[in-house]
């Protein structure tokens, strides 16, 4: 059953990737050996393991329904999942396997995903060119990450990972542009208001454009004050975009509120990052977690829940249980962002271990609650 549509398999393995990517952290921090290569490992797994699986599940499901092109199923889907798994295995055995082999195992997945998206560019309308461009940039970033490990290029690994997080935020902004009109309308219907909204494109374009600028600036000059101002501008642009979701009671529906929360995390993360670069005593790495653990993961949970609902033939509203995982992730993010500033001594327990447990609990709960939907046929009897 899980091989009939991309979201089913990738949303099933994604929570496992999420839990795996934080599993070694508490041991290291409590053992007193945090940082260094481990930081790059964790960052890479969250970005190119966890977020990449989310992107795959989303694109393999959304592109066929937007453009009408044929979905990837069966053997091709199995091959995609195998490529993704190969990369994860490579990284779990990092240190045992030689770096070139880890690179080889990890570099197959994203290009394969891009190859499945390219046919949609030939369609007449709603061409996903922005997704393809960002995906190509992510492939280049992952390649650079491995080339650095192999000693071929000299560029700091965290610089690549930070730019990759920015690129995923660009994807969040772009995807929200396609998802929000649908979810806001459904939320308005749920609260008994007429669903006649019009979202002018200016706000989402500004939000995505400032994030693109931010990604480029972080790669070119991560510590320049220019990057700091760009981060602040990007924060303002995301805050401006939250206006799109100001619809009274409809904002309190999960399909809108979760995106609102994600945007709030983006504002906090980008704003804090900008201020940190401009010289305020804020921890930049904590702000990265506001972006990754706060904004990106909340968006991932929102999209996964909505896709799992709609593409298994179920109508809105979302079940109440949809709040649990984002709430746990939000709490984890608040701790990871707050503890380094309020009580740096407590980092090992309250800044890393407890957030890692909350994070794992969130994705464990999501899997427990939504896996039955993903493994069962559509309730309306349609294929897919």
């Amino acid at each position: 059953m899980v091989w009939v549509y991309g979201f089913r398999v990738f949303f099933l393995i994604l929570p496992l990737a999420a839990m795996g990517a934080v599993a070694p952290l508490p041991l290291l921090w409590l053992g007193g050996a945090g940082g260094g290569a481990m930081g790059a490992w964790h960052g890479h797994e969250q970005v190119f393991g966890f977020l990449a699986a989310a992107l795959a599940g989303f694109l393999l499901t959304a592109l066929p329904s937007w453009t009408g092109c044929r979905p990837v199923t069966g053997g091709a889907l199995k091959a995609m999942a195998a490529l993704w798994l190969a990369g994860r295995i490579g990284f779990w055995l990092d240190g045992v396997l030689p770096p070139w082999l880890v690179a080889l195992l990890d570099l197959g997945f994203l290009p394969a995903l891009l190859a499945t998206a390219l046919p949609a560019l030939g369609r007449k309308e709603r061409r996903p060119w922005e997704f393809c461009l960002v995906l190509a940039a992510l492939i280049a970033g992952n390649a650079a990450f491995h080339l650095e490990r192999l000693g071929v290029v000299a560029v700091a690994a965290d610089r690549i990972l930070f730019a990759a997080i920015d690129l995923f935020l660009v994807l969040v902004a772009v995807a929200a542009g396609r998802i929000l009109p649908v979810t806001i309308r459904s939320a308005l219907v749920e609260v008994g208001q007429p669903p006649d909204i019009r979202l002018p494109p200016g706000r989402r374009h500004l939000a995505a454009a400032t994030l693109c600028l931010m990604a480029v600036a972080e790669l070119a000059a991560p510590h320049s004050p220019v990057t700091g101002w760009l981060a602040l501008a990007a924060a303002c642009a995301q805050a401006d975009r939250m206006t799109e979701m100001h619809h009274g009671a409809a904002l309190r529906r999960p399909q809108v509120m979760l995106f609102y929360m994600a945007h709030l995390w983006m504002v906090v993360g980008l704003g804090g990052l900008g201020l940190a670069i401009l010289g305020l005593p804020l921890d930049p790495l904590a702000m990265r977690h506001a972006l990754g653990l706060g904004a990106a993961a909340t968006t991932v949970l929102a999209v996964m829940s909505i896709v799992a609902l709609r593409h298994t033939g179920r109508p809105f509203p979302l079940p109440r249980a949809v709040w649990v995982a984002p709430a746990l992730v939000g709490l984890a993010a608040a701790l990871r962002v707050g503890v380094p500033h309020l009580d740096p001594e407590a980092m090992g327990v309250w800044g890393v271990t407890v957030p890692a447990l909350l994070w794992s609990a969130a994705f464990g709960f999501w899997l427990w609650r939504f896996a039955p939907w993903l493994t069962a046929p559509r309730v309306d009897g349609q294929p897919g």
């Binding site: 019009r198 004050p225 101002w229 760009l230 501008a233 100001h246």
Partner: protein
């Protein structure tokens, strides 16, 4: 879909984020310019903000801002009064229009800088010279707007109101004023924007105090940071007037546009 006043105000204030994004992008460009050309050409934004802060703490900025505002608003009010009365006369009477229009055109053609020189000769380096310059440069704009508004008043609408025995105050308030405002407001907004710039220029040349005077002393000291800080003070003043005064009024006057069917709130909120 009509929305509550509080929601509209929230939308408006929240729209400030969009303006913030735009201004911060400009600041990033400014910072890049500083990196490329150095402090003497373009001081760093943070240094400029710091200089403005130091100058405010030393008690230099607020008096200057108040002085400049007094000069600008004094001149602007006088211009509104003179331009409004003469413009109304020109709009109502054909003879007055023939008499005044060429004079207004002539005044509009004289460069503001020439008025600064003349008023310095007439009034000396005082606030009066600055206010006179503002008056003479902005009055023709108000004049033109008022004359146009009065001339295009709808005669048949007036006759209908009279036929229904509408009392004079209601006639003024509900029939004449809304029509007049649609002509007068753009003229007033343009006049107000112009009056700040003319004020700073006149102050700079006359040494009559205010922001322009601060700019002049920064120029003498070849202190680019201080000069930029004063520019920042003017810009802050302009932005405050624009977004706290003019834009809300503009929106209020355009309520009919927002209430048109088929336009959701998300389409109009913000700047």
């Amino acid at each position: 879909m009509s929305r509550s006043r509080a929601a509209r105000i929230l939308d408006y204030v929240w729209g400030g984020w969009g303006a913030g994004a735009s201004l911060l992008l400009l600041t990033a460009l400014w910072e890049a310019g500083h990196g490329a050309y150095g402090t003497l050409v373009l001081p760093a934004p943070r240094d400029t903000f710091a200089a403005l802060w130091t100058m405010s703490e030393a008690g230099k900025v607020l008096p200057a801002v108040l002085e400049t505002s007094r000069n600008a608003l004094g001149g602007f009010l006088a211009a509104t009064l003179a331009g409004g009365v003469l413009g109304a006369a020109a709009g109502a009477s054909d003879m007055m229009r023939r008499l005044l229009q060429p004079i207004a055109t002539l005044l509009l053609g004289i460069p503001a800088i020439a008025w600064v020189v003349l008023s310095l000769l007439w009034f000396g380096g005082t606030g009066l010279a600055v206010m006179f310059t503002v008056l003479i440069t902005t009055a023709p704009i108000v004049f033109a707007g008022t004359a146009q508004g009065v001339r295009t008043l709808d005669g048949s609408l007036r006759r209908m109101a009279l036929a229904f025995r509408v009392p004079a105050p209601v006639l003024l308030w509900d029939v004449y004023l809304p029509h007049m405002l649609s002509y007068l407001f753009p003229a007033l907004a343009a006049g107000l924007a112009l009056s700040w710039k003319v004020t700073v220029m006149a102050e700079l040349l006359s040494g009559a105090g205010g922001i322009g005077d601060g700019l002049a002393s920064a120029r003498v000291q070849v202190d680019t940071v201080k000069a930029m800080a004063w520019v920042l003070a003017v810009v802050g003043l302009l932005l405050a007037v624009e977004y706290l005064l003019l834009e809300p009024v503009r929106r209020h006057l355009q309520v009919w546009r927002r209430e048109m069917p088929g336009t959701g709130a998300a389409g109009t909120g913000g700047f």
